[in-house]
Amino acid sequence: MKTDPIREKRLREPWFAARRELSPRRASFLTIFSFALPLLIWSAVSYLPFLWHPDVELQISADRENVTTVYVAGDRVSREFFPEFQEAVRQQNKPLEAGLASLDPAAEATNGAAVRRANKKTLRQLVPILAANQWITEEQAKDDAAIYTSWGEIAAGKKVPTRPQLSEENLAIIAKNWAAMSKVSPTYDSDRFVSVPLLGLVPQGRPANPDYLPAPHEVVVSGIKEFTAPPEAERPSMWQRVGHSIRIVFGGFLLATLVGVPIGVLCGTYPVFSKVVEPFTDFFRYLPAPTFSTLLVAIFLANDAPKVALVFVGTIFQLVLVVANTTRRLDLPLLEAAQTLGANQAQLLTRVVIPGILPNLYDDLRILLGWAWTWLVIAELVGVKSGLTEFIETQGRWRNFDSVYPVIILIGLIGFFTDQILSALSRIFFPWTSEASGKANPLAKAILFLPRWFQKSASVHDLPADASGQARESLTNRP
């Protein structure tokens, strides 16, 4: 293919040049990359077993004597502890081997009943493996006869577990145990069960991250499950929770706006208001809003009122000060010009100050709406816990972090897209600002850019190399 001078030039542009605009192509690429990068890192840490993975997720667990904590398959233990755990089981097995080998099927041990009970536990150690290989169903998890048969099949090599594979060590243990078990009874019979201790399976596991970092697919699966689950009597559906949370945020925020914007504008316009209102407001905004939660419950009682009130209290003081500052930033010469054109005090406020600050006011409110969302988390814990935060709290306490993440991400997405939409609308609301006629929103641009980009790269590949070269030439050679 012939070299394309435009493309050549574009490739030579520096990536690092102080305060120099990137080409739209690169800007869009980087915007997408800024979202792709954290996802990539998350996926890498989750799916590449050699990255981090400080724990071992047990696939086969075991009881150990003298240990109070009982681990079951699916639990996580630290990587340092795991070999210790395995070794303990091996030590436990060692004195048992002789007894098992010289088993007399007819003899009944002195403490036979207790040993049998322990042996049945050992029998069931294989259940997670059998279930993972889909040799038994969930209902059969306690069906000792089926499990007993499977022991035999594995010992005979008729069935070879693949996920996970059994270690040689465990296969040997299964064979030794089965030899003893089958000597007593070829099929399961709870009365005719080995009465000398069986060897315990040595724990097996795979590298895992701590439960607070679930893998992306786990989060997606849990997310879909949580968001499609129908509501139950005491448990609202996820979308009901989302609606509830949004109502509280916007309720508190709109109230704060209705009260705060007029006060802020007056403070920014008339020093007399500023001096009366702002010093106290400035003091009050440092009082942490959460400390008012009990007070708010006392005043507004239960339900949503204290929650809305908390978002209100958390937002309004900042809002008044921010709006007052924005109002003060209005170009003073505009007010002077209006006065020389005959505007009186009332007209200055309604015809100059208010229209003049609207675009900046709008931006302020956008930022403050983001703050309101952070107050939501505290507000929903006030009084009767509710909404998304209640869900996060409960699931977090049960360590169901794979269910917690989708909700956290959803809150982020709601906030992010609200802001993006509001920012795009600002261009429509305020056509007189220079931004309105200037650059489009970078994210919107990046999203719009994606299909074009694919199209472009596809079309270049579709054309035979010569054809595309010729096409370009015929364009550039035109007189």
Partner: protein, 298 residues
């Protein structure tokens, strides 16, 4: 001293010009400034910006005020507009003392002060609207926009206009109130040289065709000499009347007159009043020699 120019030749007026000034001074006084003082209280003690300033502007006169930077020109015009109070003395408009800003004195600022949220037409209609006129002001607003040559842009927002266009709208906006006097504080100071000279010709055209008196502040000698009937030259620190120059350049003014003897004499005089020691100052600065001997340019 420069032998090419007789320092006092600016006082020689041709009979036409003399007759013009005679007629001018017989017209009624629109603006009268009497013993005006302005002192600003500052942390470092009071700063006197204007001291005992007195002058008169006649009906339909074009008066320029010139003076070095910081001599109080803006302070003066802000007092005239009513945006600032005088410390002492008074300002009379048509014989009546002014207090506070009002639509009888239009003002054009150096910074762009169009309302960004209003279109050109809405900006021009702002004054009449404040006075309670509604849609009735629209046809007249169109006329003012026509007058400054921006009919094509009447629905544009200020951010879409160039600097010169913005100031033309600002002039139309001030004129739409039908003020007695138009106060202009370095209105073309931020424009490039070409646009500025265009705007000057423009302003003269407007002034000629309207019943309007203009007080125009500038620090540009050419601008003052080209536009003004009379030039009020201020002294610096504090601002005092230095001299009121009657510009001997005949009207109508054209850029060709920039090289006329009257024009040059006027500029020379202003320059002399503003920077009396300028020439000697430069001589007294000890410049180290940084060139090889014999490589002289003068």
């Amino acid at each position: 001293m420069n032998a090419l120019v007789d320092p006092l030749s600016y006082r020689e007026q041709s009979p036409d010009v003399r007759a013009r000034f005679q007629a001018l001074k017989e017209r009624p006084v629109v603006l009268s400034v009497e013993n005006l003082y302005k002192t600003f209280p500052t942390p470092g003690g009071p700063v006197t910006a204007l001291k005992d300033l007195s002058f008169q502007v006649f009906r339909r006169e074009f008066m320029c005020v010139i003076g070095p930077s910081g001599c109080g020109k803006s302070t003066l015009i802000r007092i005239l507009a009513g945006l600032e109070d005088a410390s002492d003395g008074q300002v009379l408009l048509d014989g009546k003392p002014v207090s506070g800003p009002g639509p009888d004195r239009g003002m054009v600022f150096q910074s762009y002060t169009l309302f960004p949220w209003l279109t050109v037409k809405q900006n021009v209609m702002f004054g009449p609207r404040m006075a309670g006129q509604g849609a009735a002001a629209e046809p007249e607003a169109r006329q003012w926009i026509d007058l400054v040559g921006l009919s094509r842009f009447e629905n544009s927002y200020p951010h879409q206009l160039s600097g010169g266009m913005k100031q033309r709208v600002a002039i139309a906006r001030a004129l739409a109130n039908r003020p007695r006097i138009l106060l202009m504080d370095e209105p073309f100071g931020a424009l490039d040289a070409q646009t500025r000279s265009q705007m000057q010709s423009y302003l003269l055209q407007i002034w000629k065709n309207l019943d309007i008196t203009i007080l125009f502040i500038t620090h540009d000698l050419d601008e003052a000499a080209f536009l003004a009937d009379r030039i009020l030259v201020l002294k610096a620190n504090p601002g005092e009347v230095n001299e009121i120059i009657e510009v001997p350049v005949p009207r109508p003014r054209t850029p060709a007159q920039f090289v006329s003897p009257e024009f040059i004499a006027t500029k020379y005089r202003i320059d002399h009043l503003i920077h009396p020691e300028a020439a000697h100052e430069m001589d007294s600065i000890p410049f180290p020699r940084m060139t090889v001997a014999g490589d002289d340019v003068e």
